[in-house]
């Protein structure tokens, strides 16, 4: 008899649950509709970046840059007040998504910026489509991200964009036999694929494609393989942060003296870490879209202001990504006369072009990805500090990944 009472309770419980399920749903969704259609005088911009965990530096750079931009360009555009909301997703996709969702639903944010890593950007893609909210990727660099939603734009760069020019430069400079060494995840594989293809097309040979696991304490075995293969050059991509350890072991293994050229994407010689890495980085040739030493009045002003605002921290390509992300939003809002409706903004952003601190940039209207100059740089000492000194420019590079599809 006892178990009968048991059963009845249980039945009652689930019944109650399912009925309320129905009712509450109806009610709450109704609420929601009212909520979203509410007009807004202030336009809210959400910046979601990792402020803790391994890629914390990304978050700090981007937050600083975004704040600086507002400070420099005022907090009102086309009569609308701009409010920046910064969130830390600790680099965990489900958190990123939750924060994005809360920003859209609760704060009624009109634009989302940030996304430190590829999975974090991808996590939000379906959301921006569903909610019709522009998502501007200011950091993550895997090529296919922008294809995941018609509302995704990018103001950072794509790895093919940086890797292909590196390969071309290599071919021009007598590098025929190469080994690639990349971190084993999206961006790394992008870099590997596009660099290798370009090299082989150009008549060079890729002896080996090495992939280093994401969490890897010791580069030794991989570097040893490089050494044994004794190529003309080794092409490297590791996410910024790993750069220091890698460079150390590179020289510790005597590869710098073994005549194997080290070429890389700019991530390895990240401005933010270059001082940490030290002289071992000297002479490393790499391609990227931004160097703190980029020679233009805009950049000089930017670097100065940035350092001043963040007790001497040097801005890196992450900072610039966020800085231009904000620029894109501002310009779009000016164009739409302050209309922050998602589709309108998207229309306005397509084809937008301006002079960034990194040089002339524009948004490709078809791919919504950034078109920009890629610079070939070499690490040199400029009055006591290490910098990536640009010595060659490839004008207006579109993302090769999408170009190839047409």
């Amino acid at each position: 008899m006892n178990s009968v009472r048991y059963l009845s309770r249980r039945l009652f419980g689930s019944l109650a649950l399912s009925t309320t399920l129905a009712t509450t749903l109806g009610l709450t969704t109704a609420l929601g509709v009212i909520g979203t259609s509410a007009a807004q005088e202030t336009i809210k911009i959400g910046l979601i970046v990792p402020m803790t965990g391994p890629s914390a530096s990304t978050g700090r750079q981007q937050e600083a840059a975004a704040k600086l931009f507002i400070q420099q360009n005022g907090s009102t555009v086309a009569g609308k007040k701009i409010e920046l909301i910064v969130k830390d997703d600790t680099g965990a996709p489900d958190t990123t998504k939750r924060l994005a969702q809360e920003l859209i639903v609760n704060d009624k944010a009109s634009v989302l910026l940030g996304f430190g890593l590829t999975p974090l950007a991808l996590a939000v893609a379906p959301l921006s489509t569903q909610a019709k909210v522009p998502q501007i990727v200011t950091a993550a660099a895997t090529a296919m991200i922008t294809e995941q939603s018609p509302f995704i734009f990018r103001t950072s760069f794509t790895l093919p964009q940086a890797s292909v020019p590196m390969a071309e430069w290599g071919l021009k400079n007598g590098i025929k036999k190469v080994v690639t060494l990349v971190t084993d995840y999206g961006p790394g594989l992008d870099a590997e694929k596009w660099f290798s293809d370009t090299i082989t097309k150009g008549g060079g040979t890729v002896v080996e494609n090495l992939r280093v696991p994401l969490r890897n304490p010791d580069f030794a075995p991989f570097l040893q393989r490089v050494k044994d293969a004794s190529p003309d050059a080794v092409f490297v991509f590791v996410p910024s942060g790993f750069g220091a350890t890698f460079m150390k072991q590179f020289s510790e293994r005597g590869l710098d003296k073994s005549g194997i050229k080290l070429i890389a994407t700019g991530d390895v010689t990240d401005d933010d870490l270059l001082q940490e890495i030290g002289d071992v980085a000297l002479g490393v040739v790499n391609t990227h879209h931004y160097s703190a030493s980029h020679n233009s009045p805009e950049n000089k002003a930017f670097v100065e202001a940035f350092k001043k605002a963040n007790n001497g921290m040097r801005p890196n390509f992450m900072a610039v990504g966020a800085y231009d992300g904000m620029a894109l939003v501002y310009k779009a809002l000016e164009k739409t006369k302050g209309n922050a409706d998602g589709e309108t903004l998207v229309a306005a952003m397509k084809g937008m072009s301006w002079t960034s601190v990194r040089g002339p940039v524009s948004i490709d209207p078809e791919t919504r990805d950034i078109t920009q100059n890629i610079y070939v740089r070499k690490v040199e000492k400029v009055n006591g500090e290490l910098y990536n000194q640009e010595f060659a420019t490839i004008e207006a590079v579109k993302d090769p990944f999408k170009a190839a599809k047409k």
Partner: protein, 286 residues
Amino acid sequence: MVTILFDGIAYGMLLFVLACGLTVTMGLMNFINLSHGAFALAGGYVTAALTQKAGLPFLLCLPLAFLFSAVLGMLAEKLLYRRLYQRSHLDQVLFTIGIVFMTVAAVDYLIGSQQQSIHLPDWLRGRLDLLGGSIGVYRLFIIVLCGVLALAIQWLLSHTRFGSQLRASVDDPRVARGLGIPVNQVFAVTFALGCGLAGLGGALGADLLGMDPTFPIKFMIYFLIVVTVGGTSGIMGTFFAALLLGIADVAGKYYVPQIGAFVIYALMVAVLILRPQGLFTRGGSR
């Protein structure tokens, strides 16, 4: 391939110095201490600070790193850990992982999240050719130093009065007290010694493994693997386990990069399935 073997040994030796303190606390004192890496962190940061800011020579910094971590360990043992010897393993795990969280956040807050770099003297850089393989001087240095340490520790445990006191205290604290052995002090000293070694390991490893606030978490797993595989019998088990894992890891990544990351875990699970108490056991006691 001499070089690979050599790198493996160096890596293993490093693991040994980092982990052997843990063997003592965990194996002999039966205290699961996940916060062990925090003391390595301390050692690494002290060395970084002393070489960079104070500009002291690297060699001088090593003993200092040892001392610093040892003292830190001594204090921690007196103030906190001693209360936990008699508690359940679960409590020990929770408490020490709590300590790790606090350490990581605190260091991040006080010093910053960036990598600490240590500048080695030039004579430790470069490479020399040996037995047909080219070998990093620094790695050679590590191997020699850690090898000597291993022998020293083994001697300390097996041939000194302290060693026998420790073993007695471990086997049965009550009886040991009866025999007039100052059990608490013995444990305290042992603990401090272990932490000191971790600190030294941190100082030596900073250059190869990198040193940032998340070090204790990143390497906790490796320490635990080494200790469990080595078994709770004593230092030698850990020593061989560390070498085995070090070599297996490096060689695995070198010869079969595709599955390199698996090797160390697979090895551990395999060993533990065959010998649940680890490679070297104290006659199945516990």
